[in-house]
Symmetry: C3
Subunit: 317 residues, 3 copies
């Protein structure tokens, strides 16, 4: 592996990348893309008119959500990101320009495909740094716990998505039926994979130098993001692997493989319930059937709308 | 008291109990019963198919909710439970077996009454250790505050229930109209009593040795749980005491004793409102009547369903 | 400025004020007014009958919400307020008397306008101390970050309001469509201004002595609160300034100024969406129009009810 890197003169490149400073250009790209994706949330524009403060707070959660979440998880002050005045100032200026610029100039320019492509690519680069930062921070506190390192790296890199329920609450929106754990978006998935890889590298289970892994991961995320934006497709590159893992591990209990279909699910679910609760079965179970059906139908509707959304490349990240 | 213990040769028994290790058998029983009660939540099986990760996270909250909650309350890292690799691994294996075991073997076996009885009894034993652990932990930080000790002991012992609203959110379920403070379940009540007793023991207000209190409390919880499971009854042993306390303390203001009845409540509630708000009364109050009625009706419906549920012994803990 | 204070013999007065102890009388007034405003929340009386514990917990959040919130933000134990036994005992006694006093004597007396006026005035005085306490606490940890100091001062002074969504959840009420960031109430606004002023004073950007600022701010809040209670008006003294700031800063992008009107908003919002998403536009946009309209209509209804509420002086604080 080392030889391959040496052969292709990639060693210097990876060193150069590892020494790259995120501030200010890459951070700016991250803020612009984040604030733009907030602006494209349904209802966000209206909130920006009725309550600039809620809009600003929401933007800061989009920009610094990872730092806030990983701070909470490690019992460090969640206000800490606010103390980095330069970053906050930069993010606030960008928030102001994206939402309130005269003639809406900034948003319209940044939304042009070529510029947006570059900005999104730069934002993906910051992901590597954030995940690595999270893993390193957790390593300092819990150096023998892989799970904690993965969790903090993931939280730091995909924080905005993971706390989206509470970010939406700031804007008066509440969608309890969905969250990033129930239905992971592409950025959340790629961040989780990154967190696992960097954790394995940190604990020397993965025989790769840090800068090489950074190069590989960054190139992968940038290329993949660009591909998705250009083709407008949302087919995750992990779909076959996921499907294989799912089939191997999580569909073991044969009586339940039919669970994904609509009506049968309700019946089987009640089947188990009935087996257990002979006392209050009949009344409860008929309720459950109805509830189960309603539930799965609404879930299905949600998935459809999400898939429709996914074909559009301007997803929240 | 000491003499009584000496007489009955219970002293050695209580010492033996106090030196009992929870790991691995009792912890395992706790994980099995917890994961099974998650599986029996409406909709949980479906989540286990659509999103194994959300299901796993929910299971961990059922198993380690107390540690997470008491960690947050004491500003200690809520990820700390994740750093205990052995426990997490054990809980994860049990989660996997309960949800995805081929032929559903594990769940069906564990759900058989005799086995479930033993497992539930063992889980009750862990409660003593968790409550005591919480009280001791709080005593180290706030050694002159009974309330903090009670709160942390309670949170550690009944954490899964107390954070159930947020645990449900992980699975896409949101039931704001109910929580363990509004309508305490039996496990939450018994844990609160335990937290009070162990706090009084720790601060020497209760003239009992720690191991004796542990023995008494453990025997009481195990016997009571077994009784409830065998008879299928949910009559709390504290019902008369609660009722007496309630009547003495919380029904003092005579004009409001009729409040529990449905329609009158709405009227009286508005009565007070009217007395206060002479300006915008009429429009608001008519709204309130409607809201009040709707509210109390839905609360009533909820209570009924909960009572129905309570007659079933497989309650969430 | 100093001369003016000297001239008017206000220097001694401000020193006297700065040395005033909040405990016990002003704290008591704060607890009484807070618990009374909880009692005046729709549904709170019913909760006090069905679950005294949830009612007590809610009351404590009204009384100590600021300390809890600023504790969380600085990663200090949120249970810390519970460790101050005297305050908790005092607040609990007041909670008991306000909700359960025989003949409802305490509430009826305290609700009489002259007494309520005095209590509310005293409560406003505690605000100065709380904001200052928050700013000083944050200054100890982040002495070069104005934003953190403002945030902590604000959280400490207006905590009950800022966490109202979660306080309501304790009582089984969930109103995600509103929060203090989306639609600030008067107490939240005045606290924010106080936090800014005390932060500027602390960092010497404001050339005023601390005790003088305390006097000015306290007099302003007390006078303004009394005026609002006596006239029953809710016209904020900052309305013209707010309006000017809003017009200057947040209505820059001309194409969106029409956004506040109902139907146009939906159309323009979709306009932007359409410009961006040529692929899945038609189906989505028609949905958005409907969603946008429904949303804005419900928001409008909410605002109306809030305005109606605002004319009433007994608002939650």
């Amino acid at each position: 592996m080392m030889d391959l890197f040496g052969l292709l003169h990639l060693d210097e490149l990876s060193h150069g990348l590892a020494n790259l400073s995120m501030f200010p250009y890459f951070d700016m790209a991250h803020y612009i893309v984040s604030v733009m994706s907030l602006r494209e949330q349904p209802g966000a524009l209206q909130v920006s008119r009725t309550s600039p403060l809620a809009c600003w707070f929401s933007s800061m959660l989009f920009c610094f959500g990872g730092a806030v979440l990983s701070g909470i998880m490690l019992a460090e002050p969640p206000v800490a990101p606010l103390s980095n005045s330069t970053s906050i100032l930069l993010a606030s200026i960008i928030w102001y320009l994206v939402f309130y610029c005269p003639m809406d100039l900034v948003y319209c320019c940044a939304a042009l495909l070529p510029l947006r492509l570059v900005l999104s690519g730069m934002k993906e680069v910051t992901r590597t740094w954030k995940v690595l930062g999270g893993v390193t921070q957790a390593y300092g506190k819990y150096n023998d716990s892989l799970l904690v390192m993965i969790a903090i790296g993931w939280a730091r890199g995909a924080g905005g998505g993971l706390i989206s329920n509470f970010e939406q609450l700031v804007r008066g929106v509440w969608k309890p039926e969905t969250n990033e754990l129930l239905k992971m978006s592409y950025p959340t998935k790629i961040t989780l994979i990154g967190a696992v890889l960097f954790t394995l590298q940190q604990t020397h289970y993965l025989p790769l130098q840090k800068q090489h892994l950074m190069l590989i991961y960054t190139v992968f995320t940038v290329v993949n993001k660009s591909r998705m934006m250009l083709t407008g497709s949302s087919t995750s590159p992990f779909a076959p692997i996921e499907s294989a893992i799912y089939k191997t591990l999580f569909s073991g209990s044969s009586p339940y493989t039919a669970l994904t279909t609509d009506v049968k699910e309700g019946n089987i679910d009640n089947g188990t319930t009935n087996r257990m609760t002979s006392t209050t079965a009949t009344k409860e179970s008929s309720k459950n059937v109805a509830a189960g059906k309603g539930k799965s139908r609404s879930l299905k509707a949600k998935e459809e709308s999400e898939n429709a959304e996914a074909t559009n490349y301007k997803k929240t990240e």
